[in-house]
Structures are given as C-alpha cells and as structure tokens.
Subunit: 688 residues, 2 copies
C-alpha cells in the first residue's frame, strides 16, 4: 500500500506538471502511439535500455502469472530484436515482495476472456524504473504493447521516454473478422494476424468458418462436413484449440461463425438431406449469393444442429456464437412445395418469418449449450429476444434501431476492409456518430465494431496487406476517444505502426516486392513499382464486374494484387496537388509535383520492355501508357499555372478526354492520381 500511495502522489504531481507544460499535445503526438491512450503525460527524462534490462512480476495474489510472464518474454524478445542487445538476465523475476527490476509489473487478478473484462492499465516510465499496473493481466498485455511502441533511440542508445499513461478502451468489442472459407488461411496466417491484433489492442477474432465455398472445421459428429465440404482445407480441432489458446494468451476472444441457414452449400455436400432442394450439392467455386439453404421445416435439421452445436460449444470456449443468417435468398424455399405447405400451416407469412422460426429454434439450442447468439442484420426480427447481438453490415441506422429496441450490437458497416477503401474512410466511421441521438443507456448497447476481411479476392500471400495497416486505424477508432480523429496525424502514426507490425511476422510490406519480382519474372521491378505506387485495386465490388469471373481457383498474383488499398504515394500527391491548386504556389510546392510527374512521364518507356517479356503485365500496359500521358498533361498544367498563362481553347477539352480515358479500370485496378491532375488542368483556367 505504501508504494501505491507514493505512486498516487507522483501521479498527482505529474498531472500538475502536465497541465502547466507547454506543447504537451505535440509531445504526445511525437510518442507515435496507436491507439492513442486515454491519458498521456510526457515527462522529462528517459529510461535507457541496456544489456542490464530486467523484468519482473509482483506476485501478491493467487492470480496465475503464466500469461503475463509469457507476454513479458515475447516483449523482451521484440525489444532485443529491435535493439540488438544481448540482455544478460533473461529471467522473468516473479516475487511476492517489492521488485527491483527495470520493468515492474503488478496486477490483481487473472483476466477472463469475456465481454467487458477490465483492460485498463497504467504505465509510468521514470528514469529509474518502469511501473506497469493493471487490474487484470489482460490490462498488462495492453500496457506491454504501449511500452513497446514507446521505444526510441538517440545518440546514446535506446530508451523509453518518461511518461505517465492511464488507459482504457472506449468500446468493449474490438474485432477483426477473418474469412477462412472463400480462401483457406493456414494456421500461421491466423496466428500472425492475432499478433497484429494484440499489438493494436483488438480483442475479438471473429472467425468465419463455414461458407458455400468451404466447411473449414473438423467435425467429429458429422465428419462428412469437413471431409466432403472442404477440399481437404480445414482446421483440425487440435489446430483450433491451439489457435484459441494462442489468442487467449494475447487477451483475444475467438468467436466462431457458422453461417446458416444460407451460405451453406458446403455443409450440404455431405448432408444433402438437410437441404431445401433435392441435391446433390457440390462445393461452390464461384462467389456471390447462392441458393442452397437448410430446410427449416424438418426435424432432422434441428436434430443435426443440436448435435453439431453440442460438439462446437465444447470446442469454442467463447460465450458468443455467430450464426450468420445473412443473404438467404429463399429461392429453394419457394421452390419446395413441402416448405410452402409448412409456412401456411404455421402461419409464417413470408421467408423472413420462416427464417425467424429457424433462428428461434437455433437460439434455443445455443442457449442450452450456454452460448449467446450473434448474427448479421437479418436476424434482427421482433420474434427474437434481446439477448441476441446484432452485427450490422447494412449501416448505422440499423445499429441505432437495434440499440433503441434494447439489443446489443456491433458495427461492421464502414469497416469492410475487403473493399479496398482508404484508411480515413474507415477511421472517421464512428460506431456512435455525434448526431446519433441515443441515450447513454442505448449508447452502451453499441458494444463496438469489427473490421471484416472477406476472402473472395485474397490469398495467404496478400491477406496481410489488405488487413494492415488500415486495421490499426480502425483499432484506434474502437479503443480511443471519439475526439481522436485527426486524419493527418493518424496517417503519420500509421506509417510507423505499419513498419513495427512487420516484426510480428506480418507480410503486408514485404510481400509486395515479392509479387513484383514474380510479375517481372525476376527482372528489375523499379518501373513496375513506380506504376503500382499510384494504383489501387478497384473499390467495392467492381473487381467482380470486369469480364472475368473470379473463382476459388483464380490467381491472386496479378498487378492488382500487388497494388495496395489507399496507395500512399498517390494520396500524398493528391494532397500536394490540391494544396498547389488552392494557392500554395511556392517553388518547393511546384517542384515536388514536377518531380513526381516527370518520373511518371518517363516510366512507361522503362516498363515497356519488362511488359514485353511478362505477358502477365499486358493487362496494365495501357494504364501505364495513360500514366505517362496524364503526367505530361500535369507537367504542362503546372507550367501554365506557374507562368500565370492560360492554355489555348482546345487544350483543356482535348486533355480532359485523355484524363477521362485514364480513369478507366485496367487489370481490375485504377490510377489514383487522375483527379489530382484534373484539378491541375482545371486550375489552368483559374478554377480552384
């Protein structure tokens, strides 16, 4: 207790210092933390990291120190990895009395992996020691990640800057959905992404495990599910247990999703008798909404699910089970006279009512096995009690409606990271917008949100670059205050976090160069990289409407797959061009534009010989040509603007057509600097 009192006194003093200090906000920004903690006070001084760095956990209660110790072990490994230091003492000291280690950890109890568990922590770095305190060891995990983000270096060596941090999450549900069905994601993909999630303090892996395209879990009660429904691509129960334990060690819950009654073709391959059409069924190879669906009118279906969920309830220890429930088109229900008769008999006016009937039956089964039901918007039907949780893919309106009616809900609309939208779009999408008009009680029912990594267009090679770094910004949205919403500062910190995430094995940076090497067949990738840097994959669902049909077998190794959502180079150029157009006409402002434009203008002639020898690049040949053309236009426009001259009458018309053409998708991707060059062209006429 003595220590605590001292500690509290220090906190009080420091906060005084904080309020009186100048430029505290700037100092905090420079810490480059993401998500930004609830309270940060930057102090004078630093704690140097040397070979004598030590770590210890104070064990005063009966709480198991195992998880915390393993986390400290991992933290030390990352710290050694970054600093190259050979620590002389690699023991994690566990003592009941006061610690004299460099890092001193104290928590009261083992955290349980349940919704709303305490994740608060306080972190104090002084020149003498580092104190990390929390109610639970899960809070300790969160604090260790903050500590690792604090490492910096100067001429004297590595150090932690002196700070006082008090931190806690805004939302209790901060999730990432990974779809292991459309493309199977091996165990290591899941594990490295769990590491990434932990690094940005996310706490729910929503694991989408069944789909038309594959049933991805070993099922012992109904083995034909995985044997016939997966092409051999499924997780064994041992692997699932391993992943759940791995997640638990990082304070992350694993919620499985078994999508029913639609999206279920792969289930019906082995058990066609449970389908609404006669069958037989084969694993679906294409994407989109398919007809197969469970027959909700026969007893066999519920007998099946009773046994199925009994087995899965024992395997997946989380309290929440997601049953999907989305996009059941009802065609097979309509086509089946017996199902129609059943509806009439039971007074079920439409297929929605029939699905509600099904959901109620499923809810009863889940409740029996002590699980809480989660589902997509479609399960939000008045017939269902408000113990269920609604996950909204449709929008915030649905979320608000659910909250008002007493339902807990999670937002995913606006966090569909498979749609290749820019980070700031997701970042500024708040689960509870300021104008939400909800009571505090209702607000509490909005549990948080989830980024969704649907897998139609990703492979184990590209998934990381679709999740990261954008999801780190989403994680900040879920953890930090709603007032933390400076987009420029987010992008600045995101670059740093993105690079730090690499040490966890994530491939979001390094795989691009590899894909480019493959695309050029081992030849120089410089010119291709220049092009790819200003390209993005088509947004929303446009990649599916380009003349080619994506299937389970389609290659995801093309230029579009190397291109990144929210291309940084293009984003910066757009910003610089906009500033120039708006009136920043300094020599420097013009020069940065001219430098890029010249590079792009010359680039096609460098890329051309590479394309000749790599037929896979043919599809972006005209895109590359267009970049050269519009860069040339941009150069001319900048010159007109600088000279204050107006172009001749035909010039703008002629070039607008070229710019229009340059907007056309090629290779399922698009150039991301066309609008910026358009702005430059318009500015020649004095438009801003």
């Amino acid at each position: 207790m003595k220590k605590y009192t001292k500690y509290l006194t220090i906190i009080a003093c420091l906060f005084l210092l904080w309020y009186s200090a100048e430029g505290q906000g700037e100092k905090i920004a420079r810490l480059n933390l993401m998500p930004l903690p609830a309270q940060v006070a930057v102090q004078e001084g630093k704690f140097p990291v040397t070979v004598s760095f030590t770590a210890g956990i104070e064990k005063k209660t009966k709480a198991d120190t195992g998880r915390a110790a393993r986390a400290v072990r991992r933290m030390l490994k990352r710290l050694a990895g970054r600093t190259g230091l050979f620590f002389t003492d690699n023991k994690i000291h566990i003592k009941s009395k006061s610690l004299e280690t460099a890092l001193r950890i104290r928590f009261k109890r083992e955290g349980r992996l349940r919704l709303g568990e305490d994740e608060t922590y306080s972190l104090m770095v002084t020149p003498e020691y580092i104190q990390l305190n929390a109610e639970t060891d899960i809070g300790i995990l969160r604090g260790l990640e903050t500590l690792l983000q604090l490492v910096r270096a100067d001429k004297e060596g590595y150090y932690f800057p002196a700070v006082m941090i008090e931190d806690r999450p805004r939302f209790v549900w901060r999730g990432l959905l990974i779809d292991s069905c459309r493309h199977f994601m091996p165990v290591e993909v899941i594990k490295r992404n769990l590491e990434g999630m932990a690094a940005v303090k996310m706490n729910v892996l929503h694991w989408h495990l069944t789909e038309d395209q594959g049933f991805r879990i070993e099922c012992k009660t109904f083995p034909k599910l995985h044997q016939l429904g997966s092409d051999g691509l499924y997780y064994t129960q041992n692997q699932i247990r391993d992943i759940i334990a791995y997640a638990a060690d990082r304070g992350i819950r694993v919620m499985p999703e078994f999508d029913i009654p639609g999206h279920s073709t792969s289930w019906l391959v082995g058990y066609p008798g449970l389908g609404s059409a006669p069958g037989p069924y084969t694993i679906e190879r294409e994407y989109g909404i398919k007809d197969p669906t469970f027959n909700p009118t026969i007893k066999a279906t519920y007998k099946f699910f009773n046994k199925f969920f009994k087995e899965m309830s024992a395997l997946f220890i989380d309290e929440y089970f997601h049953i999907g429930g989305d996009e059941n088109n009802g065609k097979h229900w309509d086509a089946n006279p017996k199902i129609q008769a059943f509806k009439q008999k039971h007074n079920l006016k439409d297929n929605h009512a029939l699905q509600a009937y099904f959901n109620k039956k499923i809810l009863k089964i889940l409740t029996k096995y002590k699980k809480k039901m989660v589902g997509w918007d479609e399960i939000f039907q008045p017939e269902l009690p408000n113990t269920i949780v609604i996950q909204s893919w449709r929008g915030k309106k649905a979320l608000r409606e659910a909250a008002k009616k007493g339902y807990n809900s999670i937002l995913s609309n606006g966090y569909y990271i498979d749609l290749a939208q820019p980070t700031d779009f997701h970042y500024l999408n708040d689960p509870i917008p300021e104008d939400s008009n909800l009571t505090p009680e209702e607000k509490k029912r909005i549990l948080g949100g989830e980024a969704t990594m649907w897998a139609e267009l990703i492979s184990p090679e590209t998934i990381d670059s679709r999740i990261w770094p954008r999801t780190a910004a989403i994680a900040e949205r879920f953890w930090s205050s709603a007032q933390v919403n400076d987009v420029d500062d987010m992008y600045r910190r995101l670059d740093i976090i993105s690079f730090q995430l690499e040490e966890l094995g994530l491939t979001h940076i390094k795989n691009q160069a590899m894909i480019l090497r493959r695309l050029t067949n081992g030849k120089d990738t410089t010119a291709l990289k220049v092009l790819v840097d200003v390209m993005e994959p088509l947004k929303l669902y446009a990649r599916h409407h380009q003349g080619a049909t994506y299937t389970f077998f389609s290659p995801l190794t093309r230029v579009v797959d190397a291109a990144l959502p929210d291309a940084k180079k293009a984003r910066i150029f757009r910003k610089q061009a906009a500033a120039f157009v708006k009136g920043n006409r300094t020599k420097e402002a013009a020069e940065v534009l001219i430098k890029d434009l010249k590079l792009w203008k010359e680039n096609h002639q460098n890329l051309q010989p590479v394309i000749v020898n790599s037929p896979v690049l043919k599809e972006i040949e005209t895109l590359s040509k267009d970049l050269a053309k519009i860069a040339d236009i941009g150069l001319q426009a900048v010159e007109y603007i600088l000279k204050g001259k107006k172009p001749g009458p035909g010039w703008i018309e002629e070039n607008k057509k070229v710019l229009q053409d340059a907007k056309k998708p090629r290779g399922h991707a698009e150039l991301m600097v066309v609008t910026a060059i358009e702005q430059l062209v318009n500015a020649c006429n004095g438009d801003k």
Copy 2:
C-alpha cells in the same frame, strides 16, 4: 501399349535429332533447370499455356492417384500464379482411357517412402501436349517440378519449350537436416522448407528434435520430457503427424534424430535419475559441447529407451531413426565412480567402448521396433553390425572407410550450411570424389548426403536465407551427374531458382529488406543495403569468438543476420577484379569496377546519419568507414593500372595496412571485397 510404342518411336527420332543438332548444350543450359536432369534434348516448338490448359491422370492400375492429383493441383496453382491466367477447367481429369488433356500423366504404382524407391520420370513437351510418365507417383512429383522450371514467356504469351527429358537421381539419399532445438522452428517453417526441398528434388528431412537446449517433441509416455525440457516450444504429436503427411505428399521421408547419450541436457531436466551426474539439470541456454549424458550402466536407462522408442516408432513412420551419438565428452562418466566400476567389470577399456556398449543396447531396441539405426561418425565402431548407417560430419575419409568396411553412409561434411561458406564450396564437394578409389560395390554404399542447418545462429526469420538458395546447388550435387560441375553456370541458374523458390512461401529474399528496415528504424535503407551487399557473416565458428556469448535469448536481428552467405555483389566484384588484374583491361572492364568503387567510396557518408539514429548499427560503423577507405584505394589502383603508372614507394605499404585493417571482423561480419582490392593494389606493381 499402342501409345507407348508411338512414344518410343518418337523418343528414338528425337534423340537422332538431338545428336545432329548444333548447340544442344547451350540450349539445355538456357532451360535453367536445377538439378540438371540426366538426359535432356531440346526440340523445336513449344506448348503454349493458355486459359484452356488442362491436366489429367491416366488411371489404368489400382494405384491411388490422390498424391499425384494433389501435386497437379499445386502445380496448376503455381502455374496460374506465375501467368495470371484464369484457367477455365480446374478439374484434374482422372480417366482409365486415353487422356486428351494438355498435361497427361501416367504412372504404374504408388511410390513408397523408402530408401531407393524409384524416382525416375520422363517428360515430353510437344506442341500438342505434355506427357509425363513414371514408374511411381514420386517420379511424377519430380517431373512436375521440372515442368514448372520450364515455364517461359515470349511476346505471344507463356509456354513450355518442346523438350524430351529422361531423369533419375544419382544418389538415393538427398537430405536436409533442420535443427529445431537450438532455436525452435514453428510448423510453417518446416512446411515451407519441405516445399523448397521438393522443388529441387530432395527426399529426406533429417529432423533434429532433441538437444541440450530443448526437447521438441510431445512424449506421452514420459511427458516431463517436453513439459520440463522445452520452454513450451515443442511439436505436438498431431503436428508431427501433419508434417510427416505433408512431407509424404511431396515424396519426402522424415527421419527423426534423438541425439543420445550426449547432447541430452533437456531430457534430464525431467528425468535426472537417468543422467550420469547427480543433477538437478536445467535447460542449457548456451551452445557448444556440454557434459550431461545418459547413464549407460543402469537398467532404468534402457527401460526408459525401450518405452520411448516404442512410442516414437509408431509416430515416425520412416524406417530410419537417427540416434546422434556425437560429441559425448565423457566427463560425467569419468566423474561417476559407479560408472567407472561398471566399465572395469565389463572390460570396457574406455568411454568409446562404453558408448559402443550403449549403442548396441539401443540398436537392439530399435531393431525390435523395426527401425534401422543411423548415427554420426562416432557410432562407427567395430562392435556394431553393418546394418547401421554412418553419417559423416568429420570427412570423406571416414565415409570411404565405412564404405570399405561394408557400412552404408551419408556425407554431411562439406555441407554444413550453418557455417556461412560459399555455394561453390558445397557444390564442388562430391560425396564420391573421382580419386575415391572405391569399388562400384563400395560406391553404392555411399547413399548420398545431407545439408545440415544447425540452429545456434538462426531464427524462423533468418533460417530460409541460410538454407536457400545454397541448398539448391547441394541438391543438384546429390541428384545430377558428377560431371555437372560448372560453377558459373550453377550460379547463373541458382539466381533463377532462388527467385522461383519465393512462390513457395520461402522468405530467403524478402526478409532481408525487412531486417534492414528494422535496423534503420523505418528510415531509408539504401546505404545500409549497399554495405550489406558486400558483407558476409563470419564463417565457420568465428561468430562465437567475438566477445559476446550467444545464447538461446540472443537477438538474431543484427546486420550480420541480414548479411547473406556468399554475397552475390561481392562475389561478382571479386571475379571482375580478378579478370581485370589478369589482363582484361578494356574500358568496360574498368568501368564496372569504378562504378562499384565509387558507390562504396560515397556510401559511408550516406550511412553515417542513419547510424547516428540507430544504435544497433554502431557495431558496423568502422566497417562502413573501412569500405569507403578501401574503395578509394581501389579507385586509385585502377587509375594507376589504366595509366600504366606505378605508384610511389610508400603508397602500397601504406594502403596495405588499411586493407589489413579492413579485413577485421566487425559486428560478427566481414567485408568480402578486401582481397579483390588487394589484388588491384598488387597489380599496380605489375603483379597478376
């Protein structure tokens, strides 16, 4: 049969064409195959790869087509991945009658994973179809890898050049040892390296699973082995079964190594009563030869091994079990009076005799479980029958001796890839040198060889760059004829194979850039890369003698870990400098040298500001400075040579000192262009 006749006629015709053709050798070289097949004939024409590519297997016998079909599925995925083609037919056609697919596969029986199994195949690419035939499906696997190496492109698209290939391995045992003990290697590391092995037709994974530093297998009979001996870093039996199946699917045997009686500290942590010293034992954190060893004089030891090998024999299905047997220093035997008394009583004159006594007992146990014993040189004792296999780490002399005495043997001496030696050193190390003086019968007893990836200085992040690409050249040594030994051509093809290996998930290329980014703390890595490109890790065991003690906890993330064995840039410079010195004084020859030297001369001033902000780089600061200095000397030397002028009397002496200093290791690494610049300096005096 009709088809076969036709096929044979074609073969005959083609060989006629082959012999009469000009430049056949050159054409073969241009195919860039590695390992080079036994017989290749390049034809006119090509088979185009288009979206209509199809594949089928002719099923005439009862042989299971599962493994072959899975291999074709993987092959199609890689082919689509490289070409970006959306194949319209993704079925593997399995028919009993003649196939009309593009790729037509025929084999007689399922290959068994046993020593000497038939791996021959013949591959014929014609403009109309591709025929791949083999005795076993393992031969088919080998042929599919050759086919994938054949893919090329021209303006019209991707294609396979028309060829006739008849291929079979020179040695039956072509192995890679992976040490999962000094550093634990997760499942995915093993799997991606199995993929790499399969790509270059290796067929044995020698899995080093127990060591002083860790016991890495779940053991159900004696659970304290993995529970107390592994820090939680071990493979579950399910993971082991998964890996064995994964290897089997690629035609690779998995031979476990349980290193006894020495190298066994981790076993004794849980079972100290079996040790030769009183104990207790703790997991060893440092490297080198340690004292702990099993007590070979007590019954409990053999009772233990009897049960242990019973369990492991069921788990590891391979016929061969490696028992290590190396580097038992006998200190604990000497110090134990009871062991001394036992030796006297049983007339065992020294510790070698005692170990032979132990080995005989172990052999009996293994034989009972139908396993054949393999061990390092040390187990080669006249007391043991010649059913055992000797693996030589000591040298070819031992190998020859064993062969002459009727023992089967495997060579590893000369293939220690952990020692950071150049590829050509390993490549030219033939298991049966021309002067071996062995009879054909004795030669047959040399089964092959193994590259050994010991893990003291590697982590999951760096292991691939230590294995690949050098092991591809070793694989060629084991597969191809002894006459295939053109070093320049090997290096040329190695570059291509290395880049192809990336598609299997291997990280040997991409992780370097990642480590450099971490070292510069996200700053520009250009200057660091220039330096690292001419650096190599210290060779042999020198890294252990630089003042720092490597332990299990030491970071393997420093500049030395980013540096690659056999640095390509440095190798090429040395070659170009040597040619220049020897008399190639063309302008071009000088210019390539000058270009590199200028780059290096300027590099330190670019790297210096990066070092200032990255303390982890401090250790190579003077090395970087030295590179600048010697590059300047090199530039002066080239100038003297070009001008035909001799430098003043002091110049050479003075600079030789600088060059001498530049040879000193820094950061456990060394510059690899010093000798080349020395040659240039010497050449100023007219030396060649």
